[in-house]
Amino acid sequence: MKAVFDRPASLTDEPFPYCPGCGHGIVHEIVAECLDETGLTDRCILVSTIGCTVRCWRNFDVDVVQGAHGRGLAVATAVKTAHPDAFVLTYQGDGDLAAIGLSETVHAAARGEAVTVVFANNAVYGATGGQMAPTTLMGQCVSTCLEGRDPQNGGYPIRMCELLATLPAPAYLARGSVDSPANRRKAKALVTKAFRAQMEQGVFSLVEILSPCPVNLKMSPPDALRWVRDEMIPFYPLGEYKLPPGEQL
């Protein structure tokens, strides 16, 4: 019988520790498939940090350094310095990348470090149980703003791709989503381009992936996917925000 689908070789046999309907499993699978297809698994050094993915070192069959909350890109900067030929990848959530680690994120991008970020944006703090994230939408109800995000108190969400695209440093910046099989395929293409941007063009690359967190959104998994599609995508438009030098948007 012909095998048409298999577990990516870049994943270990360890089951994902995530909640039912969580998007991390899909995003992990995309990353692993891209590693397999680009042949970078053996040269990959993954930098993991904080949140639900704190133990993803058990899932990816690559060398891993676990850094402090928010400091993933400081760690990755140094790892890439030590091993310029390695493929250095950080996997970060919205709190990690855009709140506690915003400074490290902006400055790694500004320095133009040749590392790749896969940024899972689910608009909520997952591991701590559903607090406001820097990407929580206006009016979205979470445990630290029960009546919905309010500009008088919580301020406004941060669009990371747009923010980073203002920097003069060369980069590849894109946003995808895993709300549907079609968008999953498109997101995978963006991740592949981001891998190539690091290894072939030597630039900073980041792919933001909109991802559902049904448990903390207090929705069923299908409703959470619909919420990503109907609420998140209009505020966080999908597409490419910056291409490496010589390429046109």
Binding site: T41, D42, R43, C44, I45, V47, V54, R55, W57, R58, D61, V62, D63, V64, V65, Q66, G67, A68, R71, A74, V75, A76, T77, A78, V79, T81, A82, H83, D85, A86, F87, S103, E104, V106, H107, R111
Partner: protein
């Protein structure tokens, strides 16, 4: 002749440091600038980081990836590094951190101070851990202890802090530098991309509660081994010392002068200078206690190391008077004042 900051930087290069990340802060900035100019010349990378938080995490990443890595800062900035120091200790990563400390608390001022003794020796960040802490007292030691720092860091897989102060960083003295090392220890555990082999994993968070307990026990055992094998101190003055002064770093320079002056006057004074502040040389007191009548602890803070001195003296069976002298916020104890305090604690007549 070199400034202490520059001697430390040059020694680090000769000790095989190939990665430096740091953030400008007085009075350590010459160290950072020396690295910016000279680290690229030996094929290393200097990064002026966006913060001390980032600097220490860059050192964490560089060390995990196999490089001899260091950072430097001064008190205020070292406070920001406590996060990364705890992570370095937990992941058992070698690294060297120089604290050219200044007066605090808070923003304080750039005057010399030893106010960071507790922070350096008792953990500083969260959780049960220790840095190895070395205390130079001269520009020569700023250089020599840098070699020792990198060596201990690799041997014990533990971050090492060199606790200096603004005076040691800024003053110039003649210094003889060791020849550059020809090689540094291999780190087979470092990440590099697994290739065809087994993967390497450097983590701070163990998988289970039992794993975390195991990590804590492993660290505890390491600190015990350090206490057994790596305590260093210097005894200045004869072994028949009756009136002991205990001081580290810059304070020990003033205290040494005071001791020499007292001995010239016939007072059997001596100086015990801890060089390792962690592990603290508690056993160093055993040798001097039989003849000992009084002790004065001199610190450029409001009394921090005195707690460890009292533990050492107590364990050695000393029951005589223990005085303290010094102060934080930039107070510089003069040799004459130290002499007077030694005599006062000893209950001896103080000349008018």
């Amino acid at each position: 002749m070199m400034k202490g900051n520059e001697a430390a930087a040059e020694a680090a290069l000769r000790a095989g440091c190939t990665f430096y990340a740091g953030y400008p802060i007085t009075p350590q900035t010459e160290l950072l600038e020396y690295m910016a100019t000279n680290l690229p010349r030996v094929g290393g990378r200097f990064i002026q980081s966006e913060s001390e938080l980032a600097a220490i995490s860059m050192v964490y990443g560089a060390s995990a990836a196999g490089l001899r890595a260091m950072t430097s800062s001064s008190s205020t900035g070292v406070s920001l590094m406590q996060e990364g120091l705890s992570y370095l200790a937990s992941a058992e990563l070698p690294a060297v951190i120089v604290n050219v400390s200044r007066g605090g608390p808070g923003l304080g001022r750039i005057c010399p101070s030893q106010g960071d003794y507790f922070q350096a020796t008792k953990g500083g960040g969260h959780g049960d851990y220790h840095l190895i802490v070395l205390a130079p007292a001269s520009v020569q030691e700023m250089a020599d202890l840098m070699f020792l720092a990198f060596d201990l860091a690799d041997r014990y897989r533990n971050p090492v802090m060199i606790l200096a102060d603004g005076m040691l960083g800024q003053m110039m003295e003649s210094v003889v530098l060791k020849e550059p090392l020809e090689s540094v220890p291999a780190r087979p555990w470092a990440v590099r991309g697994r290739g065809d082999g087994a993967r390497n994993i450097v983590i701070s968070a163990p998988y289970t509660d039992a794993d975390l307990r195991t990590m804590n026990l492993r660290l505890k055992d390491k600190y015990r081994r350090l206490a057994e094998a790596e305590c260093r101190h210097e005894l200045h003055g004869a072994e028949d010392v009756e009136h002991l002064v205990v001081a580290f770093g810059t304070a020990a320079r003033f205290a040494g002068e005071a001791v020499d002056s007292l001995r010239a006057d016939g007072v059997k004074a001596g100086l015990l200078r801890p060089i390792t502040l962690f592990p603290f040389p508690y056993d160093g007191f055993k040798k001097v206690v039989p003849s000992l009548k009084s002790v004065l602890v001199v610190e450029m803070n409001e009394g921090q190391m005195v707690e460890d001195v009292k533990l050492g003296l107590c364990a050695a069976g000393f029951r005589g008077p223990v005085g303290t002298f010094g102060g934080g916020g930039g107070f510089i104890p003069s040799p004459a004042d130290i002499e007077r305090e030694v005599l006062r604690v000893a209950g001896m007549e103080v000349a008018a």
